[in-house]
């Protein structure tokens, strides 16, 4: 008889993602081969481009900052059992809050702009998460569909707002006026020129703080406890007197708020103005980051770094290898999402059997545990 055992923790946290990731990269390698380039060479360029020099590392960390926020947004909702694929739209509308505050307070100090812009961005992003949460909790809408729709509504809304209200009359391009002073998030190269011309800015530290705060929220507060209980076992949450509907709404709001931080990093950290589609798919990558990071801040940090490296290294690759375009990143990203997310069972099943066999051959001490669980069916 084939016995499947739940995988040990290390295998679950390290072995399975490692195997899935390896497969995704192996197939990416095949794609590189197919377009007539050397995968080994490509990996070298990619790694050097991402980590080999200051500016590259700066870009890597800058992208990783976005992915930390997007990954956290996905996983906070995920902990409450909600599938929020609306980080893209939530970050997009948050950009409005960020730029309005920055423009208004451009003549003050960035230390004043930053917290207020963060609050404004979080409020708008949070609202954009709250509404799908509310519709799911109170009206039974499907969170996935609603958040997809909200991404597109956000997109149309932002085009309208930028074109009709934010675009200075003298501008041709659909973008807001630029912040020139305090509205810009200071870039780290101002203090440390090691990072070259990379746009790595203070939001990087906010991302680190967000990782820590998310850890505290989820594992050190009553609310986090409720969120996790709700996600792990909604009936137990109900039994414990936790309002399922409230938790869904709260988690979706926080999730949207965190996604909104992407706006500060991009709008006030790089562009210095609100441009169309500045979120650039970062919100979607958050799904992959959250999945790979097993919804834990440490995992998310690592996965965000990986994707950051992929984005920066990929750009370097597109530059160095003429046959490889920027879209190679999308392909690798797709394969990573496919194998670490949707086809997660590919290795898990066989591994469970292998571990089952290993344990079968050395499991006499486990016998009483099995008896106990067998009798619990009585």
């Amino acid at each position: 008889m084939i016995v499947r055992k739940p995988l040990p923790r290390w295998a679950d946290l390290i072995l399975v993602p490692f195997l899935n990731l390896s497969l995704a990269f192996a197939i990416s390698g095949l794609v590189v081969l197919m377009i007539g380039e050397s995968p080994v060479e490509a990996v070298k360029i990619l790694i050097f481009g991402a980590f080999g020099y200051g500016e590259g590392l700066g870009y890597t960390l800058h992208f990783a900052t976005n992915f930390v926020f997007a990954g956290l947004a996905f996983s906070i909702a995920s902990h409450a059992g909600q599938f929020n694929i609306g980080a893209e739209g939530q970050a997009y509308v948050a950009g409005l809050g960020a730029i309005l505050v920055a423009l208004a307070l451009d003549q003050t100090h960035w230390l004043i702009v930053m917290p207020i812009a963060m609050i404004a961005a979080a409020a708008l992003g949070g609202f954009w998460g709250f509404v799908p949460g509310y519709l799911a909790a109170k009206r039974g809408s499907h969170v996935v569909i609603t958040t997809i729709m909200f991404n597109f509504i956000a997109s149309a809304f932002m085009v309208y707002v930028i074109n009709n209200f934010l675009k200075p009359p003298e501008n041709m391009a659909p973008e807001s006026a630029s912040v020139v002073n305090a509205g810009k998030m200071p870039q780290l190269r101002e203090w440390w020129d090691y990072f070259g011309y990379s746009p790595l800015n203070v939001m990087f530290f906010v991302a680190i703080l967000a990782l820590i705060l998310t850890y505290i929220l989820l594992w050190r507060t009553e609310l986090g406890y409720k969120i996790r209980t709700m996600g792990a076992n909604p009936s137990a949450a109900h039994y414990a007197g936790i309002s399922n509907s409230k938790i869904v709404m709260i988690a979706m709001t926080i999730s949207g708020g965190v996604a909104g931080m992407i706006a500060l990093n991009e709008v006030l950290g790089v562009q210095n103005r609100l441009v169309l589609d500045f979120v650039f798919g970062y919100g979607f990558v958050g799904i992959a980051v959250g999945l790979m990071g097993r919804n834990h801040p440490i995992g998310i940090a690592l996965a965000a770094l990986l994707f950051g490296a992929l984005y920066q290294g990929g750009q370097e690759l597109a530059f160095m290898m003429p046959a490889v375009t920027r879209e190679m990143i999308l392909v690798i990203q797709a394969l990573v999402i496919l194998f670490t997310g949707a086809m997660e069972g590919l290795f898990r099943g066989p591994l469970e059997m292998i571990f089952g066999m290993i344990e079968m051959s050395s499991s006499s001490d486990d016998a009483d545990k099995d008896d106990a669980s067998a009798s619990s069916q009585g």
């Binding site: 794609v31 377009i35 007539g36 599938f83 694929i85 519709l135 009206r139 039974g140 809408s141 499907h142 996935v144 569909i145 609603t146 997809i148 729709m149 909200f150 597109f152 509504i153 997109s155 149309a156 809304f157 085009v159 309208y160 074109n163 009709n164 979607f284 799904i287 999945l291 046959a323 490889v324 375009t325 879209e327 190679m328 990143i329 999308l330 392909v331 690798i332 990203q333 797709a334 394969l335 999402i337 496919l338 997310g341 949707a342 086809m343 997660e344 069972g345 590919l346």
Partner: protein
Amino acid sequence: MEFFETLVLLLASTIRLTVPLLLACLAGLYSERSGIFDIGLEGKMLAGAFGAATVAALTGSAWLGMFAGIGVSVAMALIHGVASITFRGNQIISGVAINFLAAGLTVLLGQTWFKQGGRTPQLNGDARFNDIDLPFVDQLADVPFLGSIYTHLISGHNILVYIAFATVPLTYFILFKTRFGLRLRASGENPKAVDTAGINVNAMRFKAIIITGILCGLAGAYLSTAQSSGFIKDMTAGRGFIALAALIFAKWMPIPALFACLLFGFLSALGNFLQGVELPIIGEVPVQLIQAMPYILTVILLAGFIGKAVGPKAGGIPYIKER
């Protein structure tokens, strides 16, 4: 008279914009009716468009291109199937991956093969589906009203337009009048009932997503070899998601799907038409509002404020027989 001519042109534009939505919407209908969520319509359509344009460019035949587009799209559908049916993976995540994969591969391969920044070469002549004039167009052209309607609305489209509209009654027939349709619908509602009736649920679902692939491929072929003359990067531009919205709006029914797609197609034509136009009294119309209407309407419908859209009950849940 001028108003009438404008209206006819608007409606003709509506029909052209409706076609890809309709094909993709019906594609999603097969998949979702069998119990497989599909947010990867966009990706399959894009891949289909690329496949069609590539082969049409290489062979000079729009028809061969179309079959290639279908082939590519079905291959993407099968990836979704293996992930979500065979490995019981999350159907949403798999759909996201399909969309990224298509967005990336089309440009990457397009650049490798044609070196035109991700575009395929310009298609001419038989490499495109050209507009067909139905009989008596010339004779009727001068008849007031009727002539205009006949020439612009009924005649003068390419073959894929007629195929797309013919797919609606065909889908209705397959879904509600055949054994296959009965079993397909049952798989999406109560797979256990299907299983206990001695039918293989997963096989039914695979058949459904292959049809989804075929229709998405057609939609893609329409975009790149009929509506346009070649593939350009990201040419689906969210149509796969509007199709998804239309599917929900139509409550997963083929005939209402036609009307939902026509409505959304009309909104999109109207949006193009009113771009930058100053209307009396209203002033400039917020085009974005018109563009967002499909999504807004869908959200409102999903929330049960106007009727209630309830999808196939077993949608999104992998079928697992043994405990």
